[in-house]
């Protein structure tokens, strides 16, 4: 069974600083998805990574996937308050049809 570990689980950072969230998973998966969740809201898709070495960037966020290391990273550049949210990674697990297995999430707080 696919296990997903995110770290850190809680991240408090200053504006304008850089930081990286890590997502490790236990079994082979060549696809991974990142989602954002604001308090009391649903999940919003951020990035779709479909192959080894995939890198996607949107604004101050950049996600990458290393399927050999079973690792994805979400890098935050020059953080701003609007990025405060919980971020989830979800590798795809194949079992007849792909399903998404979510990590516990990283709660990011960006302080002025």
């Amino acid at each position: 069974e696919l296990k997903v570990e995110q770290n850190p689980l809680f991240l408090s950072m200053q504006e304008e600083k850089n930081y990286t969230i890590y997502c490790n998973y236990s079994t082979t998966s060549d696809r991974l998805y990142w989602y954002r969740q604001d308090p009391g809201k649903s999940l919003e898709s951020l990035f779709v990574l479909l192959s080894n070495g995939a890198v996607k960037q949107e604004g101050r966020l950049m996600a990458s996937l290393d399927t050999k290391a079973r690792l994805s990273t979400l890098h935050i550049t020059a953080a701003v308050h609007d990025l405060s949210a919980t971020y989830f990674c979800a590798p795809g697990q194949w079992g007849g049809s792909e399903k998404l297995v979510f990590g516990k999430g990283t709660k990011l707080t960006v302080n002025p």
């Binding site: 649903s42 795809g92 079992g95 007849g96 049809s97 399903k99 998404l100």
Partner: protein
């Protein structure tokens, strides 16, 4: 394009009562998921449908939870009888697999409180 619709948004019931949630996925999406998200945790898959067939229900507590997807479109999730630990947000999501991409799009969720 309309998103995933869920209703109701909120529900409060007493333990041992029954409750049902409804989901209408994005048009044309063959795959539909029900996830349970307990406060402070990541979503946990309860059941996955491909059209109107069940692909995965390994984590569905079948003694009290049931789900169906009639005609491969709308879906309902039922809990009977509810327990206190069922208090959570129930998220419905749908996806359209193309070129190996099964990105899931989520509805707003139903927040269930069991008292």
């Amino acid at each position: 394009e309309a998103g995933v619709a869920q209703s109701p948004r909120y529900k409060i019931i007493e333990k041992r009562q029954s409750v049902a949630f409804w989901c209408n996925p994005i048009s044309g999406h063959a795959t539909l998921y029900w996830y349970q998200q307990i406060l402070g945790q990541g979503p946990k898959l309860l059941i996955q449908f491909q059209n109107n067939g069940v692909v995965d229900d390994s984590q569905l507590p079948k003694d009290r939870f049931s789900a169906e997807r009639l005609k491969g479109v709308d879906s309902t999730l039922k809990i009977q009888p509810a327990k206190l630990e069922d208090s959570a947000v129930y998220l419905c999501a749908s996806s359209l697999e193309w070129a190996g991409n099964t990105e899931a799009f989520f509805g707003q969720g139903t927040r269930l409180t069991v008292v």
